[in-house]
């Protein structure tokens, strides 16, 4: 029998809150073991160089040194994606400053550091490639031997319907070039890993990783050990944001060292090393040509992107897709063409950061919509409301949209912010800007090809009444343990405090792919729901027998199993006892595999998701026309979450997204410095420190007004969609649009800084175009596009060969 929610939707203290608040929670670097040794990595001072020789003899003889490792200990490469297995734990080809070439394992960190200085490395310096345009112009030397050609890592082209035709038939075509600077995750916790060989001879690796499952697989590969001999424990992460998704060099190195020495070996990265491990936001140059009708409907878009990938593949093939594929999800876009190219450069590798590849085109699209609205004389909110995608529809690129609350999100922020009395009405120096966004609730496909479930959950109950839930998902601060406990508790009618979560441990828990792509609530949640419902059925059957009622008339509520018809009840603990007596040891498993995506063309695997979240945001700014200084007094944001399982945590995630988004919008830059080329070949990170990599602090945050919009999605547990990434996305374009509303200048690149505003104001005063942003998009050798007929034009989701397309066109004529 159904009951009112008792856990879901109620603001609750998170299950791991006490441990965090009291300092009892142990992060990876808090672990210590007897006889533990310490590891430091020797990193290349050159941005691009081959190791010609390496002499470790002095370092190995240094008192306190136990082991020195180099490339020769690691013949097998690794990489998060099967198509980009291009990293060695220690390399002989340094692709960026900070690429590790050797490791010392010693009695303590100080000794290890001293020994690093004794390693003699002879490098052969190679030409340095510092940005994508240089990479396109410089096919040799290749940073990697694989890839499309020269220093192009990935090159993609897709066309859904004839876009040229659509643009030709439009009332207006808007063409813009945007740039989005790279930035990094900046988690509070610096990565740390402890490896040891346990009593049973198996390797145990405890690490600050978001994805223990993928790390497990890559360790098995690099160490050439069966997976069953390795156990990976993901310690609770002190923030991840995508930076701890890739398996990392340091994890491989300490694992190898522990195996060779038979002693525990630990490493903790310095903050600077975290900047080198990076895998953050790709710098992306974008060109958008968008056709619109005079009444504000989109007819088609041609999007071109150029990504600066850095020195390794990382998640790059996916990142490249993501600079295009989610663009049609928010607004009806009948035809869509996107071309995307990722280049290698001699900088730390870029990868997934909160929003993975989608904030960059989202920024461009939402700023361009603001320009379109102005040109058409429309209110930007009304324009958007007129074109939002519909529930249960297919996009031009064959993504299935289920539920959507985007229109409600727009209406909500418009009402709450007083938009109609503010936009274009606040007077010079003050302004508001609006933008929207969408994000996936989990990637529809796993990172490596397989047909297995994406998430598994196991439940164990015993006569004490305790409920233990096991899942491979990882608590990275986002509240995944709380989601797990809440779903089980809701189904079983108990308090979340009665549920013990055992998570992120490949030796103990069923596989879950990890904490990335906003997949945990829906995938782990659905698996947990399935397991909990199986157990509840058993408990109900046993309880019904005792109460002499029918099982489906029972309600699990407030730690009781109650029959409302007769008011008979037994406690939850008694129900467990009866069930254990009746069925034997109680447990159940649940698993989740996302639905098959409708697209059938090659490459259609990136973008599909069981559900999409939506957000709308209004940012208010005060811009000083004399200095360009930007002040943000308030942000309003509405997020379509489907259902908030724990509103306290959900709001925290939204505010956290706004926080990170404002940092990106206003100041964050993973920027690099070249020295005068006559004097130096250096290419260094400008500011690898927490002080000088500028990011907002709590004191710098404006007030954030959060509205949670709840349209439960049938694909999601209790209807709950993601909230970890989506709310970041609209903040940057909303800020740029607000700056325009305040002082009438367009900053078509991120970050939007006072000097750019002042420069644009000066241009305006000179009667020139009041805009600061990229002035061109280079010629990129994109391939011939994969052509797919959009669903609205009668396609079948498969690629149409060019001849067929031409035949079809001829037939129409």
């Amino acid at each position: 029998m159904k009951k009112k929610f008792e856990v879901v939707g109620k603001p609750r203290r998170r299950v791991d809150g006490r441990a965090k608040a009291t300092g009892q929670l142990r992060f990876a670097d808090d672990f210590a073991l007897p006889r533990m040794l310490h590891c430091k990595l020797l990193r290349s001072p050159h941005p691009h160089a081959l190791v010609e020789s390496i002499d470790v003899s002095k370092a190995a003889r240094h008192p306190g040194v136990h082991l020195v490792l180099t490339k020769q200990h690691f013949p097998v490469p690794f990489g998060i994606m099967p198509v980009s297995v291009d990293e060695f734990p220690l390399t002989d080809h340094a692709r960026h400053v900070g690429d590790p070439v050797a490791a010392v394992i010693a009695s303590d960190e100080q000794v290890a550091g001293e020994a690093l200085a004794l390693i003699d490395v002879q490098y052969k310096k190679l030409k340095t490639i510092s940005d994508p345009e240089e990479a396109l112009q410089t096919p040799e030397p290749r940073i990697h031997e694989y890839g499309e050609q020269g220093n192009i890592h990935r090159n993609q082209s897709y066309e859904f319907g004839d876009v040229d035709e659509a643009l030709a038939q439009s009332d207006h075509v808007f063409e813009d070039v945007f740039f989005y600077q790279g930035n990094t995750h900046l988690p509070m916790e610096q990565q740390a890993t402890l490896a040891t060989v346990e009593g049973d001879g198996k390797l145990l690796v405890t690490s600050s990783t978001q994805n223990p499952h993928y790390l497990h697989r890559q360790l098995a590969r690099v160490l050439q050990l069966p997976g069953s001999k390795i156990r990976v424990v993901a310690a609770p992460n002190g923030g991840g944001f995508g930076g701890k998704c890739d398996p990392a060099n340091h994890e491989m190195v300490v694992a190898k060292a522990a195996l060779l020495l038979g002693r525990p070996v630990k490493i903790g990265l310095t903050r600077e090393e975290v900047f080198y491990q990076h895998r953050g936001r790709h710098p992306v140059l974008m060109k958008m040509r968008t056709g619109v009708t005079k009444d504000g409907r989109l007819t088609g878009m041609h999007l071109q992107t150029l990504l600066d990938g850095g020195g390794y593949g990382s998640h790059g093939p996916a990142s490249t897709f993501y600079t295009g594929v989610l663009t049609p999800v928010t607004y009806e876009l009948p035809r869509f063409k996107f071309e995307a190219c990722r280049t290698f450069t001699n900088k730390p590798a870029c990868g997934p950061k909160r929003g993975h590849g989608t904030p960059q085109p989202r920024f461009g699209q939402e700023v361009q919509l603001d320009k379109i609205a102005e040109k058409l004389g429309m209110d930007p909110a009304e324009l958007r409301l007129g074109i939002v995608t519909q529930p249960d529809s297919l996009t031009a690129n064959w993504l299935k949209i289920g539920s959507t609350g985007l229109a409600e999100c727009i209406r909500e922020v418009v009402a709450r912010s007083g938009w109609k009395n503010k936009h274009r009405k606040l007077g010079y120096g003050k302004g508001v800007g609006l933008a929207c966004s969408t994000y996936m609730c989990g990637a529809g496909l796993p990172i490596y090809w397989n047909k297995l479930p994406h998430s598994g959950v196991q439940l164990l109950l015993d006569r004490s009444g305790q409920v233990t839930v096991y899942c491979g998902a990882t608590e990275i601060g986002q509240g995944s343990d709380d989601v797990l406990a809440a779903i089980v508790a809701e189904v079983l009618g108990i308090d979340t405090g009665e549920v013990r979560c055992v998570t992120g441990d490949t030796g103990m828990t069923p596989v879950d792919l990890g904490s990335y792509s906003s997949r945990v609530t829906i995938m782990m949640g659905n698996a947990a729901l399935q397991a909990a419902e199986k157990v509840r059925a058993q408990l109900a059957e046993a309880a019904a027998e005792q109460l002499e009622v029918t099982p489906n008339g029972l309600v699990f509520t407030q730690s009781q199993v109650l029959h409302p018809g007769t008011n008979k009840a037994i406690s939850f603990k008694e129900a467990v006892e009866f069930a254990e007596a009746k069925f034997g040891t109680l447990g159940a498993v649940g698993s989740y595999t996302p639905p098959k995506p409708p697209g059938k063309y090659k490459g259609s695997g990136v973008g599909p998701s069981p559900a999409y979240s939506f957000s709308a945001c209004v940012v208010e700014t005060e811009v000083d026309p004399k200095t360009g200084w930007i002040h943000v007094p308030k942000v309003w944001i509405a997020h379509d979450i489907g259902r908030a399982l724990n509103p306290v945590l959900a709001r925290g995630q939204v505010i956290g997204g706004v926080y990170m988004g404002l940092g990106e919008a206003l100041m964050e830059e993973q920027a690099f410095r070249r020295l005068p080329e006559k004097l130096s070949q250096a290419l260094v990170h400008r500011i690898p420190s927490m002080l000088e990599y500028k990011s907002l602090t709590a004191l710098d945050m404006p007030e954030v007004d959060v509205a949670l919009i709840e349209y439960p999605d049938p694909n999601c547990p209790f209807g709950a969609k993601e909230v970890g990434q989506g709310p970041l996305l609209p903040v940057m374009p909303a800020l740029a649009n607000a700056v325009y509303d305040a002082v009438g200048v367009r900053i078509d690149e991120i970050p939007v800084t006072p000097d750019k505003v002042l420069k644009a104001l000066e241009l305006k005063a000179q009667g020139l175009s009041p805009r600061v942003g990229p002035d061109h998009f280079p010629s990129v050798p994109y391939p011939e596009p994969v052509f797919v007929v959009p669903p609205q034009e009668g396609g079948d989701g498969k690629e149409t060969k060019r001849e067929e397309k031409q035949r079809a066109a001829a037939a129409v004529v």
Partner: protein, 335 residues
């Protein structure tokens, strides 16, 4: 994590004892008070002193006295300075905008005055500096900010110094031959490496601040929460009963290797009232002396361009304009 290099630690109980240790150990010894600047710098191997002489155990350096003018012991924490009701406005505003609450609790007034000069090519760890072949300030031959420069152009980043220069304050230096008092502006030299006139065997023991100045300090930085200054403007005025300026002292920080007095602005303001025109002209005079280098945060030309605005904020505040909203955009915490 980054580890400190090895060093010997001394904890003298008196200034005399500290001076003695300094004289005996020579340049290999360094003073440490709060350690908030020196210890991180040592981790990055900017300084690798053989001996650290701690001033924390010398209670005399934590004293405060108030007669005609105020005397601050050099080891008063920045939080002490902020909390003290007798602290002149510019000094309190400067101290309150340094770093974060934790660091202000540890960092001292004397430490902030002696703060190492900063540069984006220098405030990096050893491996980073190795990757650029080091720089003129430490271990290298080239100044990467101005490759033709023979002089290191690292930037003075102390907030309290410009405030104290405007306030016409003096510092007391104790050495083997006794004490000497010098104006705060004379403590500094325009050289990013040899930036202090303090002799290696001297201890900065106290700061003496005269009464009678109406003062303010404005700090420009990326974040209003914490950051080193990229421009500091301090102004102190003596006004007569009709609000005419009897004397004016304007000082700039973070635009050269030393903080300095802008004499021309002070002379210009003397005998005038703070009209909008006077403020604008004074702002120009101040901005003309701001010659920032590309060695700290934010765009160089922008920093130069907003100097007159900042001087204007300071003067308008002293005129009595309500500048609280403007202040809150650049400083999220003010006592």
């Amino acid at each position: 994590m980054l580890r400190l290099p090895w060093f010997d630690y001394r904890a003298p109980r008196s200034v005399g004892e500290a001076v003695e240790i300094l004289a005996r150990e020579g340049p290999a010894a360094m003073l440490v008070a709060g350690g908030t600047d020196l210890l991180p710098n040592m981790k990055r191997r900017h300084q690798t002193p053989k001996v650290l002489v701690s001033l924390r155990g010398i209670s005399a350096l934590k004293s405060f006295s108030n007669g005609s003018g105020a005397t601050f012991g050099s080891c008063l924490s920045l939080s002490d300075v902020v909390r003290n009701e007798k602290t002149p406005t510019a000094l309190r505003q400067a101290a309150a905008q340094i770093a974060t609450p934790h660091l202000r609790n540890m960092g001292t007034l004397g430490g902030n005055l002696c703060l190492d000069t900063r540069c984006t090519y220098y405030n990096q760890n050893q491996e980073w500096r190795q990757a650029i072949g080091f720089c003129l300030k430490k271990d290298g031959q080239t100044c990467w900010v101005a490759t033709a420069s023979k002089r290191c152009v690292a930037v003075s980043s102390t907030d309290t110094a410009p405030a104290l220069i405007a306030l016409n304050a003096k510092v007391v230096l104790a050495g083997p031959d006794g004490e000497r008092e010098i104006p705060v502006e004379n403590l500094y030299k325009n050289d990013g490496i040899d930036y202090l006139s303090r002799k290696p065997d001297e201890v900065l023991t106290a700061v003496k601040v005269p009464d009678g100045w109406k003062s303010t300090y404005w700090k420009l930085r990326r974040r209003g929460s914490f950051d080193f200054p990229i421009l500091g403007v301090a102004v102190a005025l003596r006004l007569d009963s009709s609000n005419q300026i009897e004397a004016a002292r304007v000082a700039l920080g973070a635009v050269a290797s030393r903080p300095f007095l802008v004499e021309k602005a002070g002379e210009f303001l003397k005998g005038k009232k703070l009209t909008d025109e006077v403020i604008a002209e004074a702002g120009e005079l101040v901005a003309n002396r701001a010659k920032p280098m590309d060695n700290t945060d934010m765009d160089l030309y922008w920093r130069k361009e907003v100097a007159d605005d900042f001087a204007g904020y300071a003067l308008r505040e002293l005129r009595g304009d309500d500048m609280r909203d403007t202040r809150l955009r650049y400083a999220r915490y003010l006592p």
